[in-house]
Point group: C2
Chain length 400, copies 2
C-alpha cells in the first residue's frame, strides 16, 4: 500500500509562489531589525528537555514534541524505568535565547541586541489556521533595565510591520507587576500567580463566565471585580512607579508617531514575564500579530548573572497573509523557454547560460514542453511567467 | 543547580556576525536558483516515520531523531507494546520532496523545478566539524527524463557556488546503473546492490582493505578487481547507452565552460539513486561541497505516478567557511550611539527614528553605555561599527 502523501498532522507544505514570498518577507523584516542594530543569531531546533521544562513557558511546556533518546542504551533505559526522551523541539525562541546568552556571555557585548527568525513547534490540537510548526521572528534586548528597551522593541516591530505593508497597527501595553498587584488586591496573596494569569489570559477568547469558573477557588465577588478591572481599569490601581513606567513607554512611542495604548485586559499566557508586556493589534483582526514582554533574569537558570531581558516576537504566519507583496521587492521578469526535444533542451540551456541575464530580476527557465501545452502555459502564467517562448524563438532572441 | 547552558549534544549556536553572513549566503544561493526558475518551497521539519523509513535513505535512516507520540494515549500505547514514536526529524530534503510532489501533483506544473533550503537532522556520532543539525540547499527537477536535468542542476549549483566566491570547483560524475553493471560483472547478480554501494562509498575514507573486509561474502579476487575498476575504470565497462548519457552530460557542461569529469570511485552512500550521480569537489578540500543524483520514481511510494526526479544538494555549512563575504553584498555603514542615562537613551532612540536613514545599508544602534566602555567599544568594532558616538554628538549630527 502506498504511504500517505500528506504532511505530519497539523503541519503543512508551503507551495510556490508562497515560498518565495515568505523568503522576501523574512528578509524585509530582518533588514529593518538589522538596521536598528539587532544581530542575527541561530539556535538549534532541539534543546535539552531540562532547558524547556520549568522555564515558565506556561501551557506551552505541555505542548513540547519530545525526541526519543538515541542509541542502543534506550533499551537499558526503559528496563531501568528511565526517561525515554532527553530533548525536545523548542516551543519558542525566548527560552533558547536565555540559554544562548548564558552560554556565550564572554563572547557577547552587553547590552546585546539580537534578532532570531526560526520555526517553533507546539503540539496544539490542530485547528483551522493553527499549525503545529510555525515561524517566529523575535528581537530581544539583553542588558537594558529601563523602558528604553520596551520603546525600541515596539518601535522596531511596528516599523517591520509597516515595511511589509501591515499598517494601522497599535501596541497594547500592560505590566505583569501591575496585574499581580491588582489581582492580589482583589484575591489576596497569590501562591501561583502564573497559573492565575494563564486563566485571565483566556478572558477575550472564552468570556468572563468561563474564566470565573476556572478561578472558583477564589471569592466569587472578588473574581468578578478583578474581571471588571481587566475590562476598564487603569494603571493607578497599582504602585505609582509601575504606572509611571507604563506612561514613559506610551509617551515615548506616541512622540515618535506610533499608536500605543494601555490595555488592562492584556495578560499573555506565559509565565516568565516580569514587567511590561505588549502585543500588536490591528482593529480588523481578531488576534495579535506580535507579542512580547520583559523577562528579566531568565539567564540565571543557566548559571549566568540575572540580566535584564526584554523581547518582542512577530507571528510570521499571521502577517504573511496580510503583507503587500509589492513592498517586498520588484517581481522579476520571468521568461519560460519550452523545448520539444532533448536537443532543444540542451541548446536552450546553453543559450540561457551564455546570455548571462539571469539574476534577482530576470528569471529564464528552460523546460521540456508538456504534452498538454495549454495547461503548461496556464501553470506558468500562474507562477508569474509573462513571456513563454518556444526554444527556437528564444535561440533567435539570444543571437549567435 | 543551574541548567547547563550548552546546546544539545552535537548541535550548535550561531553567533554574530556569522548569523547575518549565513542569511546573506542563503539569499545569494537562492537568487541564483530562482534566476534559473527553481521555485522556493518549504516542508515541515517532521515527517511521519513511515515516510522516512524504507525510503532508500541508506545509513541515514538509522540516524533519525524520532519524536514521541503525543497525548494521553502514549501510556496505553506502551501497555499494548505499540510504537513510542510516529514521526521523526527529516534526514534530508529529498524524501520530503517526493512526498510533497505526490501530495500536490494537481497543483504543480510538471516539469517542476524546486529549490528548498532548510535544516536536516542526523544523530551521527558528534565529531569535529560534523553536526547533528545542518542546513541543506537543494534544487530538484521533477518530470525531466533526459540528462538536460543533470546538466541544468550541475550548471546552477556551480553558478551558485561561484556567486558566493567558492570557485575552482569540479563536478564529478558517475552512474549507479554503470556501478551496478560493473559490480555484477565482477561479483555476480546482487541481491541488495544498495548495501554493496554503501560499502563501496567508504573506499576513499577507509581504504581498499577495509572495504574488502566488509565485502568478505564475495570472492576476494573479484572484489579486488572491482575496487581496481573504481580506481581507474571507465564507462565503457557498462552498457553503451549509459556511457553515452554520461558523455552527453559531461560534454554539455564542458561546452558551457564548467569543469566536469567522470569519476569511477564516486558511489554516494544513499540507496535511492537510479541513474547518474554527482558531487562537487575542490582540489584543496577533502570532502564534497555538494552531492546529488537521479532518483526516478520515488513519488510512486506515495501513490503518485513514478515521475523522473533528479536533485543536487549543497552542504550549506561546508561552503559557509569558504565564501567571500564581500560577494554577499556591501557591508552596511554601522553607527553606534552610546547613552549614559535613561533620558539620553529615549532621546537618541527618537532622534535615530526621526533621522530615517536606517535600512539595509545603514545601521544606527542606540545602546546604553557599558560600565567598561573601552571593552564595549572593542566589542562594537568587532561587530563592524566604524562610528561610535556619544548620544550628545549624535543628537547634534542629526540636528534639531
Amino acid at each position: 500500500m502506498a504511504q500517505r502523501a500528506q504532511p505530519v498532522r497539523g503541519m503543512r507544505d508551503i507551495l510556490p509562489p508562497q515560498g518565495e514570498l515568505r523568503r522576501r518577507l523574512a528578509n524585509a523584516i530582518l533588514e529593518v531589525y538589522t538596521g536598528y542594530g539587532f544581530e542575527v543569531i541561530e539556535t538549534p531546533a532541539l534543546e535539552d528537555l531540562e532547558v524547556l521544562l520549568g522555564s515558565g513557558g506556561g501551557e506551552n511546556e505541555k505542548l513540547i514534541f519530545k525526541v526519543l533518546k538515541r542509541g542502543e542504551r534506550l533499551g537499558e533505559e526503559l528496563a531501568r524505568g528511565g526517561d525515554l526522551a532527553d530533548a525536545g523541539l523548542r516551543f519558542d525562541l525566548t527560552v533558547p535565547l536565555a540559554r544562548f546568552v548564558a552560554n556565550h556571555l564572554n563572547e557577547l557585548p552587553v547590552p546585546f541586541k539580537v534578532a532570531h527568525l526560526a520555526p517553533v513547534w507546539r503540539g496544539e490540537r490542530p485547528a483551522r489556521g493553527r499549525f503545529r510548526e510555525f515561524v517566529q521572528c523575535d528581537i530581544d534586548i539583553v542588558g537594558e533595565p529601563s523602558v528604553a528597551a520596551e520603546v525600541e522593541l515596539c518601535s522596531a516591530t511596528l516599523d517591520a510591520l509597516h515595511r511589509t505593508g501591515v499598517s494601522g497597527c497599535t501596541v497594547k501595553l500592560n505590566d505583569r507587576r501591575l496585574l499581580r498587584a491588582v489581582a492580589e488586591n482583589y484575591l489576596g496573596p497569590l501562591e501561583d500567580p502564573a497559573a492565575v494569569f494563564i486563566e485571565l489570559d483566556k478572558l477575550e477568547r472564552d468570556g468572563a463566565d468561563a474564566v470565573a469558573k476556572q478561578l472558583a477557588d477564589f471569592d466569587r465577588g472578588a473574581v468578578r471585580r478583578l474581571l471588571e478591572w481587566l475590562e476598564e481599569g487603569d494603571p493607578s490601581a497599582g504602585p505609582p512607579e509601575i504606572a509611571s513606567a507604563l506612561e514613559a513607554t506610551l509617551s515615548a512611542l506616541s512622540a515618535q508617531g506610533y499608536s500605543a495604548a494601555f490595555d488592562p485586559a492584556l495578560v499573555r499566557g506565559i509565565g516568565y514575564y516580569t514587567g511590561q508586556i505588549f502585543e500588536v493589534r490591528r482593529a480588523d483582526i481578531p488576534y495579535s500579530l506580535a507579542g512580547g514582554g520583559r523577562y528579566d533574569g531568565m539567564t540565571e537558570r543557566f548559571g549566568a548573572p540575572a540580566l535584564p531581558m526584554c523581547g518582542f516576537s512577530i507571528g510570521f504566519e499571521r502577517i504573511a497573509d496580510l503583507v503587500d507583496p509589492n513592498l517586498l521587492g520588484p517581481a522579476p521578469h520571468r521568461i519560460a523557454v519550452t523545448c520539444a526535444s532533448d536537443e532543444d533542451l540542451l541548446r536552450s540551456l546553453a543559450a540561457a547560460h551564455a546570455q548571462g541575464t539571469r539574476g534577482e530580476n530576470v528569471v529564464v527557465s528552460v523546460l521540456r514542453r508538456a504534452r498538454n501545452y495549454r495547461k503548461q502555459q496556464q501553470d506558468l502564467e500562474k507562477l508569474g511567467y509573462s513571456e513563454i517562448l518556444d526554444s527556437k524563438e528564444f535561440d533567435k532572441s539570444v543571437g549567435p
